[in-house]
């Protein structure tokens, strides 16, 4: 019985640690992004709250918490209230299967450095990722606002399209690793990271990942210049904060997945494994910010063309080639 309890406690500890790290990181990612965007545009970025603006996330958080939580009069209240939670939860839950390091041995017991290692971990990630669409689409629909509805519909269409490319691009990795488990995939990269073996899959995955996170240049569901703020036009206060949090957690998830699938996960010399993973996540995320600072938003038809006519065929070709190599 106590072993069961201990296991439960360990699990709770892991969840708490991961959640805390992810949330704090999300908050500071916002600051990092704003600072970096500032520098990309030859200005300072936030530098008023604390030294170098270090307290900006705190200020933002307090502001979001204190702001009034408005619900539009014509809104579908229940769905409107639930939608941001769906977005944030699905993003957070994806971290459950990301391995942070090899097994750790404490007091003779082996503790896996992952919250749960299920044998369909990769599918789990995709399942949650596809559920995240509901938050966007329903949030947009329930607002009873035309901008929000357009944003929601765009979000749904875009995420369905890019999920295909995302999934197909990862199939060669699964073929090489022979498993859906993220732990096994990391282990399979003991020799050399898959980015060297599968550069095409890496490219398709990275682009699709950015589209999945609805970030520039794929931020059509938000598209401030066209739709106000898209699907979260009508949101305020902490509910808006949840959408915000969801986006930045999603960035981290995608960074972690890129790291796990292509960059060898936690593997690396000298530094402890979780730090290596963190470094890789931050590296990917910084790249996404750089992309945001550089590329303009795609037009909607360009977005769809890119997904269906470029990325999916590329991923399919890649599968064929990899299949041939694996079979050979």
């Amino acid at each position: 019985m106590w072993i069961w309890l201990l296991g439960y406690l360990v699990l709770m500890a892991k969840i708490t640690a991961v959640l805390t790290a992810v949330m704090v990181l999300a908050a500071y990612l916002v600051l990092v992004e704003r600072k970096l965007l500032g520098r990309f545009q030859v200005r300072y970025g936030p530098n008023r709250a604390g030294i170098y603006g270090i307290l900006q996330p705190v200020a933002d958080g307090i502001k979001l918490l204190l702001k009034e939580d408005l619900v539009p009069e014509g809104a579908d209240r229940a769905i409107f209230l639930a939608a941001p939670a769906v977005v944030a939860t699905t993003a957070l839950m994806m971290f459950a299967v990301v391995p942070f390091g090899p097994r750790l041995t404490i007091g003779g017991r082996e503790i896996p450095m992952v919250i749960t290692d299920i044998n369909v971990g990769l599918l789990y990630v995709f399942a949650l990722s596809s559920l995240g669409v509901y938050g966007v689409a329903l949030g947009g629909w329930a607002s009873n606002s035309k901008y929000a509805l357009l944003g929601g519909i765009r979000g749904a269409a875009q995420m369905i399209s890019y999920e295909l490319a995302l999934g197909l691009s990862i199939v060669p990795v699964v073929m090489l690793a022979g498993s859906f488990s993220l732990v096994d995939i990391v282990n399979a990269q003991a020799g050399l990271p898959f980015i060297l073996v599968q550069p095409l899959a890496f490219g398709v995955f990275l682009i699709s990942a950015m589209a999945e996170t609805k970030r520039i240049p794929f931020d059509l569901p938000e598209a401030e210049t066209e739709l106000g703020a898209g699907y979260h036009t009508e949101y305020s206060g902490m509910r808006f904060g949840l959408f915000f949090l969801g986006e930045y957690v999603h960035m981290q998830v995608m960074g972690a997945l890129v790291a796990v699938f292509f960059l060898g996960g936690w593997r690396g010399p000298v530094l402890p494994p979780p730090v290596w993973l963190l470094v890789k996540i931050v590296f990917v995320v910084l790249f996404m910010i750089w992309v945001r600072a550089t590329l303009p938003r795609l037009r909607y038809d360009q977005l769809m063309n890119l997904g269906w006519k470029v990325l999916i065929p590329l991923a399919l070709v890649n599968i064929l080639i990899t299949g041939a190599f694996v079979a050979a």
Binding site: R39, V42, R43, L295
Partner: protein, 179 residues
């Protein structure tokens, strides 16, 4: 085809290079409250009503500024003083609405209404943003210091009689046909 792909990649890379390079450039931002940059005279901020070189109100309440104002933030009432001079009985600018576009300054035929570089111009109470004539009127000539509308207009307002204004002939004697 391949060439096109290469072109695309090169152009995208050029973009990344440009933005990336900016990371190492010193920001051009001026930290505003610590450093206040002197603004050029034509900057468009708080509106004033100026006076002519003799110290009289320039505004003749012709309604052109209120007519041209895209946000309808100017209202006034014209009146006539004992000398026949047209002036604003009241003149009101709602700075809560003003968008500082400067069209009023362009429209003003007497150079009375002018925008100044003073942009630190905010009040806690919205009604304090409604400026009346006494708040707007300054004791300066502003950007066009020598101009006096009534010297050119040719209407008699006590400055000069008929035919005595700038570029005018004396009045025609209607009792004679001699030139």
């Amino acid at each position: 085809m391949i060439r096109a792909v290469i072109d695309i990649i090169v152009s995208i890379a050029a973009g990344f290079y440009t933005t990336g390079r900016h990371l190492f450039v010193r920001p051009v931002t001026e930290s505003y409250p610590e450093y206040k940059r002197p603004l050029p005279a034509r900057s468009r901020a708080r509106i004033i009503l100026t006076r002519d070189p003799e110290g009289r109100e320039r505004c003749v309440a012709c309604y052109l500024c209120s007519g041209v104002c895209p946000v309808n933030c100017i209202s006034m009432q014209a009146a006539e003083d004992s000398q026949g001079r047209r002036y604003a009985a009241w003149f009101r600018i709602n700075f809560g609405r003003c968008i500082y576009c400067g069209l009023c300054e362009q429209a003003c035929p007497t150079s009375a209404i002018q925008l100044t570089p003073d942009f630190e111009h905010i009040r806690r109470d919205i009604l304090d943003m409604v400026f009346e004539k006494q708040d707007l009127l300054v004791d300066l000539c502003g950007k066009d210091p020598d101009y006096d509308f009534y010297q050119h207009a040719g209407v008699v307002v006590g400055l000069a009689g008929k035919g005595d204004h700038i570029s005018e002939n004396p009045p025609v004697n209607t009792r004679t046909n001699m030139p």
